[in-house]
């Protein structure tokens, strides 16, 4: 078993097609209001220049929305933050496009769609949009993606003593790929983590331990059925703790034999 030093959660962001924003998500999780009846249109990535904005696929729009909101909530200028971007499947719409086009007319691949197909597209657009030379990483860990992202971000804080924005997202699958890589709706989350000084922010303590998936925390709130079919749904128990202003714990799976215990003050 090993633990990281406490980090401060300086900013939180959440965006789902039926829970478009952390304020709404939190209220629904806590049972204070019902989720909006209709789906919200995808967010507009306003921090991108027009050329990048018109090229941005759903994954980029979603990731940049939550990254920007988290940085605002943390009152941290984005350009200075290292970043961790994470997605279970990346841009499923573009993957479907690539496979379908390759099966039919491979020499007619759209250059724009190809350059948006890389797993680090959102991270690339983020650093371009914020003029940030700070390093980023882009990771994937299947159903353990969110847990891995939080751990990676907290590890960077522990090593460098600098704040990090952690962004995770998954979008809707289309076409035949959806039969093996299922995901519905858009779900994006972001956290700004920083070294913990004093008590002004909620603190997060992470521990890694051997264990079994049966021991993970189940999502229980009214938000759970809404996000359940999105590939990033395993993140929800973490946000259910965050939504309540009292201390709480969530246990997430980090790999087949490994658990991440997240304790929040």
């Amino acid at each position: 078993m090993s633990a990281l030093p406490r980090v401060a959660i300086e900013g939180v962001a959440f965006w789902h097609t039926r829970l478009p924003g952390w304020a709404v998500a939190r209220a629904v999780i806590c049972g204070e209001q019902d989720a909006p009846a209709t789906s919200a249109p995808r967010p507009t990535p306003s921090l991108l220049a027009p050329t990048e904005r018109r090229r941005a696929p759903d994954t980029v729009a979603l990731a940049l929305e939550v990254a920007a909101r988290a940085c605002e909530a943390a009152n941290r200028p984005p350009a200075q933050l290292r970043s961790v971007f994470a997605s279970t499947y990346g841009d499923l719409g573009i993957s479907d496009y690539m496979c379908a086009t390759l099966a039919g007319t491979p020499t007619l691949i759209s250059p724009t769609k190809f350059h948006n197909s890389v797993h680090n597209a959102a991270a690339g657009y983020w650093t371009i949009g914020t003029s940030s030379h700070a390093p980023y990483t882009a990771i994937s860990a299947y159903r353990y993606t969110f847990a891995s992202a939080v751990l990676e971000a907290a590890t960077q804080v522990a090593c460098d003593g600098q704040p990090v924005v952690c962004v995770a997202f998954d979008v809707e699958s289309t076409g035949p790929l959806g039969t093996v890589a299922p995901s519905r709706g858009l779900l994006g989350v972001a956290l700004v983590l920083a070294p913990a000084h004093g008590e002004s922010h909620r603190a997060l303590t992470l521990r890694v331990e051997q264990g079994n998936a049966v021991d993970i925390t189940a999502a229980r709130s009214p938000a759970a059925p809404l996000v359940a079919e999105n590939a990033l749904a395993p993140c929800l128990p973490f946000f259910e703790v965050l939504a309540h202003s009292k201390p709480g714990n969530a246990t997430l799976a980090l790999s087949d034999h490994c658990l991440l215990h997240a304790q929040m003050s």
């Binding site: 090993s2 990281l4 030093p5 499947y89 990346g90 993957s95 690539m98 496979c99 379908a100 390759l102 099966a103 491979p106 020499t107 691949i109 759209s110 250059p111 190809f114 350059h115 948006n116 197909s117 890389v118 797993h119 680090n120 597209a121 991270a123 690339g124 650093t127 371009i128 914020t130 003029s131 940030s132 030379h133 700070a134 390093p135 980023y136 990483t137 882009a138 990771i139 994937s140 860990a141 299947y142 353990y144 993606t145 891995s148 751990l151 990676e152 590890t155 522990a158 090593c159 003593g161 035949p176 039969t179 093996v180 890589a181 051997q210 980090l254 790999s255 087949d256 034999h257 490994c258």
Partner: protein
Amino acid sequence: MAQPRFRPLRVTAYTVCTAAGIGRAATLTALDQRLSGLTRNDFGPSPLATWIGRVPGLEQCALPAQWAEWECRNNRLAWCGLVADDFADAVAAARERYGAERIAVVIGTSTASIGASEDAYRRLDPDGRYPADLRRPIVHTPHSLGDFVQHALALRGIALTVATACSSSAKVFGQAERLIRVGLADAAVVGGVDTLCGSTLFGFNSLELIASERCRPFDVARHGINIGEAAGFALLERGAEAGAWLLGYGESSDAHHMSAPHPEGVGARRAVQDALESAQLTPASIDYINLHGTASLKNDEVEARLVADLFPSRTFASSTKGWTGHTLGAAGIVEAAISLIALDNGLLPGTLNTEQLDPACGPQIRRENEQRRVQRALSFSFGFGGSNCVLALGRGDVG
């Protein structure tokens, strides 16, 4: 609380499999004898007119039956890498020393197994679903690779896949080092695997970045890249008593354009400087640089100027992509391994296929091989989306 300081890690085992050779010895022979692994493209149903770095025989090596769930070209090549140079045995011994849960798996890729989905789309069943042999969800996600490597090595700790295009399997070194530094792991398997597929061949073709002939890095007449496939792995340990060294690393973003490097190499220069600083080295102390050198017009122009500006004339710099092709998500580990081979054997590979160096090149960039004992190397990886990573590697004593 003060942050734990970076300390160099030992590289106690490593391996590399490319079109130029399977394993370190074959790779050394290819480098020494100037034997390129590039061949005319014959990959896929309607091959583009280009050259590729294809690892021969992958079609014949199915994964062992116990790994059937992960079967696909990318994981076959991963397996090929794991069994080369007794790498898996070295990990098994480390597993005994540290415990299976104390060895992290941090592996890079850009393709993962997308080729399997491409294949599925050409053979959809009448209902529009994947054919039965490809209905294996773990294959159709980027973590197909990291997950396979963790299972194949019987490890039980942290495992993740890094996908930052051409810097992926260089960044894994830094991410693993940090996990070890904070005590979440005692050792790590790092590396990367990318395989030939339609997405990268036709994707780079749509950007007009593919060369119709053998690629010629830094050549005045260069006209694009050749795609290659490769697998490579390294075992990093704290406190081991033998092996090469990961002396440091630097990472940055260009913040310029998704598919073109910053024209002044702002991010690349920063990554170089951060790598040198973390390794406590100066440019003058670097003996060998394995350049990114893709043979694209823009990368090589920016990189040549950066090298000429930052390093003294005696620094030996080259691109080895003329041997292997651009292995994209595996380029970081392949070129780190080639740098280690150079350090271990006193062989500095030149820049294969290149005939006339671009005038932008300074005296550092070399075409011919040289035999010389060397101690300190840098490996450059500059990727799509402006992700830059520079590794500092060494042999011998670390001050």
